[in-house]
């Protein structure tokens, strides 16, 4: 049994490899790249965990999953016990196991990583969550109900996490979603090949089994206001994301064939443009696609373009490879799929043809100067280095800003100068009982940070409503 392994024996086990779809084959398809670990591989990987007394990996997790415990049960082959821990600690383990930047969080802290490779915590999380989905009944609502009603605005990772936590505490939770399907960025942003929609559906079904109600097509700020919501609910958690795309502000950005990454990915993921169904949503295709940016969204967009038939799918980033904020695994997968990485280039102009379609991009070469406020070396232009790159599609993936749709109709909400909602240490806004988290507070962040906010806000909301008289 694993319990009998000595630390030395554990240290001798090499990190497991993730089985993947063949890169050549998958570059034209939308099926998931990572196939997931088998049971034997998962047990072997879990046995690498040293079960440290000082649980630094847990500190690295924004939702504080009890990592050594669940990994310990996997090592013993008790997947059911492992799943119980995951379900208690995270509302969306199958998603987090797939899209978290583990290499900067739990796995970055893993003591085994000091000498060699850290335990593959993300892959084990995914394994356990997928196993639970196949083998366990969905969770059931808690027997004890508090009678308090909480509204959640937005069904992305932050909103869903808060909803799950609050439902397990016995509160009556309603989630309002603006789009026609729940999931937020998990649905419209992250592509099928990285996060299959059936995984999203399954985790949302689990939340509904817990008693969470989800109402789609409710655009808070338009269909309902925060004031109206607070007349009906004891508290509210705003997690509507940072949905306003930022453009480059260069000439040619309104040519046909230029997309924000949000639009491009929404057409493909949420609207299913890649299925090419009659009466469905179209998306433009072209032999050469150029994506501007260096984050996960840029990689998602460029890998999507490749799958939609672009012979050259180019990621153009103004800094260098080491400065890319994208997950390492995605960069690696992109390389396998034939994505061209063009570093230290800055777009100056998008050039069009006579019919108003993108024809080429005029770029400028950059070099790295002194570090800027983000700690990354600032790119500076190289004089006289301009060049043209033939292109059919240009996709802008340089970030998003706070969408004023909700905040504009709720002037009592205090905002910072970028339009993000200000919150206190409990994540409460300037309106008592109204909490906020995720991108609408942080600006552009990650799925797991939004989930962390959702979890923390749920605890604060629980405390807040319990201090109030029942309606």
């Amino acid at each position: 049994m694993s319990a009998e392994l000595t630390p030395k024996q554990r240290m001798a086990i090499p990190r497991v490899a993730m089985p993947e779809q063949d890169a050549q084959e998958r570059s034209g398809k939308f099926c998931e790249v990572n196939l997931g670990l088998g049971e034997a591989a998962a047990i072997e990987e879990a046995r690498r965990c040293l079960q440290c007394r000082n649980r630094v990996c847990v500190e690295g997790c924004p939702v504080a999953v009890r990592i050594p415990e669940f990994v310990g049960f996997v090592a013993e082959g008790d997947f059911k016990a492992a799943a119980k821990i995951l379900r208690e600690d995270s509302a969306l383990p199958a998603m987090a196991g797939r899209v978290c930047p583990q290499e900067r969080q739990c796995e970055a802290k893993c003591i085994r990583g000091l000498r060699g490779q850290p335990v593959a915590i993300g892959w084990l999380e995914r394994f356990v969550a997928d196993w639970a989905q196949q083998h366990l009944a969905p969770p059931s609502p808690p027997a004890r109900r508090t009678g308090y009603k909480v509204a959640v605005v937005g069904s992305g990772p932050g909103g869903l996490t808060a909803a799950g936590e609050l439902a397990r505490m016995g509160h009556e939770v309603t989630v309002f979603e603006a789009l026609h399907a729940p999931g937020g960025v998990l649905r419209y942003g992250i592509p099928e090949f990285r996060l299959p929609k059936r995984t999203v559906d399954a985790e949302i079904a689990n939340l509904q089994a817990l008693g969470v109600k989800i109402e789609c097509n409710v655009v808070v700020g338009k269909t309902l206001t925060i004031q109206q919501i607070m007349q009906e609910f004891d508290a509210c958690f705003i997690a509507n994301g940072a949905g306003l795309p930022v453009f480059l502000n260069i000439p040619g950005e309104n040519l046909k064939g230029v997309y924000s990454a949000n639009e491009y990915l929404t057409r493909v993921n949420l609207m299913g443009a890649y299925l090419q169904e009659a009466g469905g949503t179209p998306v433009a295709r072209g032999p050469v696609a150029v994506v501007f940016g260096g984050g996960n969204t840029a990689l998602d967009a460029v890998r999507t373009a490749r799958r939609l038939g672009s012979e050259r799918a180019i990621l153009a980033y103004r800094r260098g490879r080491d400065e890319m904020p994208a997950r390492i695994e995605e960069v690696h997968h992109g390389q396998q799929e034939g994505i061209e990485f063009m570093f230290l280039v800055n777009p100056l102009e998008i050039l069009g043809d006579q019919e108003g379609w993108v024809r080429a991009i005029r770029l400028q070469r950059m070099e790295l100067g002194e570090p800027d406020a983000s700690g990354r070396r600032r790119p500076v232009p190289v004089e006289g280095s301009n060049f043209e790159l033939e292109a059919d599609l240009a996709i802008v993936a340089i970030g998003t800003r706070a969408n004023p749709l909700l905040t504009a109709t709720c002037p009592e909400l205090k905002l910072n100068k970028w339009g993000n909602i200000e919150v206190d240490h409990r994540q409460m806004t300037s309106i008592p009982g109204v909490f906020a988290g995720g991108d609408i507070v942080r600006g552009g962040a990650t799925v797991i940070l939004a989930m962390g906010d959702g979890k923390n806000a749920a605890a604060a909301i629980d405390e807040y409503v319990r201090g109030r008289p029942k309606r």
Binding site: T223, G243, S260, N262, G280, E311, W357
Partner: protein, 281 residues
Amino acid sequence: MFEIVRNDILAPQVHRLVVKAPRVALARKPGQFVIVRLREGAERIPLTIADADPQAGTITLIIQAVGPSTQEMVATPAGAALRDVAGPLGRPTEIHRWGKVVCVGGGVGTAVLYPLAKALAEAGNQITTIIGGRSAAYVILRDELARFSRQVLVTTEDGSLGTQGLVTASLAEILADPQRRPDAVFAVGPAPMMQAIAEQTRPLGIKTIVSLNPIMVDGTGMCGGCRVTIGDRIKFACVDGPEFDGHLVDFAELQHRQNTYREADCRLERRLRELKAQHQP
């Protein structure tokens, strides 16, 4: 699901749907729109809310069947339902007491014009309405508009109803008459019509408001697909519009962008042929 209470034919390929959407009916103001999806897998389509009955919890949508999605939508009978209706979206019309206002509607643009003309009339403006269509059958909402307009002028391209010609000719007559010259013009229709009207009123300095219909996906500002150039600034029609100062709109760009998906397949084929030719000289 949003039940279709009524489905009436207004003109060839133009239907009026009354749909149960209580929250939208309550929150809606003139000039706003909804995004509608008929069924799973269907496109999201922006449609102006032509009218609403908050008591009955219904909204009225006027839909022209121009493509497969709208064809399918108008063919859906009363009693059936639309899968998704989200809204009200966009900014409401800014209703001022302008004085004399000319409202111009071209084709199904008349359906978009109707709620704002009605609101302008209710605010005490004197409304003259000009509506046009290809032929008599395509002229819609004439009686409805007549209820609050001082005068309704009709133009048809074939002369089968009203004056033969375009709406711009009737507007030119009004503009030429100092007695009838309006304080503001509201124009809704195809982009070339709105552009022509903006050019008619520009030299006279008459405030001209147009309602734009670029391609949209989410309708909440998330995708930026509906971006339009207004003066020297980029605006999102879904959250900053859909109504803008007609004298500032880049109509040529709007028309180009509206054609994106009509041209996309042809363009892809042409590009692939070009590249193939390059590889095999």
